[in-house]
């Protein structure tokens, strides 16, 4: 029965069609601690892939290596076929702690990526206003981060990443500092946002439910050192009422399946 829900992919299987991000043989050590060992992964274009695993599995490290924010000891990252070693315009990052400038309004924070690229003020603010509305923050353009709730701050962080028009969005546990109610709402909005943005999402999370709820593809990492242990593609229809997903049988079975696999790492 599980086999019907899950499609396990041994590494010998052909890579999925049209990968936008290719991770080849990435290894990373901090001193004597081995964080990642020989990671080979393909991230299909236009899909939302989650990196899921217990703490210490190196999922955030892998995401930051893909972003070009951390250097790997070995291996390479290619985006659209080109090897990258530093941040680039085709990738945008959403930070766990939001990383908003407290001295700047929501509008300036959202436009900051474009400001750094030297885009004229009127132009970048028009784009920023569009994405602020897109993430549901219209009317809050002139508020400072300390005047916004955690969920709203992360919406600013998401709008900032969207406004630079990158093909790949890298999200590092974006909801972990957001309270439960707002997290649910935000997850629903993310599903809706995905359907009208033609972007690839790479999403790091430690929440099994979150991963299954929003992902097209889940990469399970095992800890010490971080390795790919399993790739799961939950076949869940997300076109309807997002509340129904939580009661979907495939959803519940997949959550259970992943939990069985991860249980051994729980302390």
């Amino acid at each position: 029965m599980r086999a019907a829900v899950l499609r396990k992919e041994p590494s010998s299987m052909p890579a999925p069609i049209d990968p936008i991000v290719e991770v080849r043989g990435i290894s990373k050590s901090y001193g004597s601690t081995e964080a990642l060992r020989g990671i080979d992964l393909d991230f299909p274009r236009g899909k939302l892939t989650s990196l899921l695993g217990p703490s210490g599995c190196g999922k955030t490290t892998l995401l930051k290596i893909i972003a070009g924010l951390i250097k790997a000891n070995a291996g390479s990252i290619a985006v659209d076929g080109k090897v990258v070693t530093a941040p680039g315009p085709e990738r945008a990052f959403v930070f766990q702690d939001f990383a908003l400038m407290p001295w700047a309004t929501a509008l300036r924070n959202v436009a900051f990526g474009l400001e750094l690229r030297g885009k004229a003020r009127a132009e970048r603010e028009e784009i920023a206003r569009h994405y602020i509305a897109e993430v549901g923050l219209a009317g809050f353009e002139d508020k400072y981060p300390h005047q916004l709730s955690g969920g709203m701050r992360q919406r600013v962080g998401l709008a900032r990443a969207l406004s630079v028009d990158a093909d790949v969005l890298l999200l590092d546990e974006p909801f972990s500092a957001v309270d439960e109610q707002n997290r649910r709402k935000f997850q629903e909005d993310l599903i809706r946002l995905r359907s009208n943005q033609n972007k690839t999402f790479i999403f790091v999370t430690h929440s099994i439910e979150e991963a299954v709820y929003i992902s097209d593809r889940i990469v399970l990492l095992s800890p010490r050192p971080g390795r790919v242990s399993q790739i799961i593609e939950p076949e869940i229809d997300r076109s309807g009422d997002p509340d129904l997903i939580h009661r979907d049988k495939h959803y519940l079975d997949t959550v259970q399946e992943i939990w069985q696999g991860l249980k051994q790492y729980a302390e």
Binding site: W103, L116, R117
Partner: protein
């Protein structure tokens, strides 16, 4: 009966709330409170002068009259022309040099090792002792006075800037890099604004130290400007004039610090306005 009680308590509740509102309204008038504070200070000064605390301690009213007199006869404005030039020059140089060096030391390890120990020693040393030495080397002119301002103002500005830059929010730096910020953009767009509250705290201390420096230089080495006016009136036992001069430089120093704070909030940290 019960209804009556409830109405009564509601009325009481309302009354209390409105009284509190009034008190808050009164407390929300910082200008008024500040004026009261100044008036209270002047009143106590007046009383102390009338007791008198010391024969060399004039009343507030005598000092104020002397202040008007000093402006009228032109001696105070003339003294300020002579004092303000090295003060302004010294403070502006210290501010730019201090923030520049502090930022450099905060970002560049070699610079930190080379310079920070020097400034720590300078800050710990009783720098006023250097002032006669400065006179020995640079004479009694403008250079010596400017240097006196700088040796007092610079260390605290450098050290504060350095600490602020070292403790910059790392996650904002990473954010700036990830959105393709250059090294220069990281410094100007993230590091300096993020460090600005502590840098400005250093600037305020530095400016206050600069005032100390210029007065010390004028008292110790070059009998000109405000320092000279203080010495002159002391020697003639014109205590009201002496106090008026001292009070005027304190007032100017305070005013400068207020202006600096205003600039900080307006330009660098708009989110703290009204908070």
């Amino acid at each position: 009966m019960a209804t009556g009680i409830r109405t009564e308590s509601e009325a009481v509740g309302l009354a209390t709330r409105s009284t509190r509102g009034e008190v808050d309204g009164w407390r929300d008038q910082p200008v008024l409170l500040r004026l009261v504070s100044i008036a209270l200070f002047a009143g106590i000064w007046e009383i102390a002068g009338r007791i008198p605390v010391s024969f060399a301690f004039p009343t507030f009213s005598a000092t104020f009259t002397a202040f008007i007199g000093l402006i009228a006869d032109g001696s105070l404005p003339l003294a300020y022309v002579s004092t303000l030039q090295p003060l302004l020059l010294g403070i502006v140089l210290s501010a730019f040099l201090g923030v520049g060096l502090g930022t450099l030391c905060g970002l560049w390890r070699t610079g930190e090792w080379l310079l920070i120990p020097v400034f720590i020693v300078l800050q710990a040393a009783p720098v006023a002792a250097f002032i006669p030495m400065v006179t020995f080397v640079y004479g009694i002119g403008m250079t010596a006075k400017t240097l006196a301002v700088m040796i007092l103002a610079l260390p605290v500005i450098v050290l504060n800037t350095y600490k602020a830059v070292r403790n910059v929010n790392e996650s904002l730096v990473v954010m700036c890099r990830s959105f393709l910020g250059t090294r220069w953009q990281v410094v100007t767009q993230i590091v300096l604004p993020d460090a600005s509250p502590v840098i400005f705290a250093g600037l305020r201390l530095g400016v206050a130290a600069g005032f100390v420096g210029v007065v010390l230089a004028e008292l110790l080495i070059t009998p000109t400007g405000i320092g000279d006016l203080i010495t002159f009136h002391r020697s003639r036992a014109d205590y009201a004039e002496m106090y008026a001069t001292i009070a005027s430089i304190i007032a100017l120093s305070t005013l400068t610090l207020i202006v600096l704070q205003w600039i900080e909030v307006r330009v660098f940290r708009p989110e703290t306005r009204g908070a």
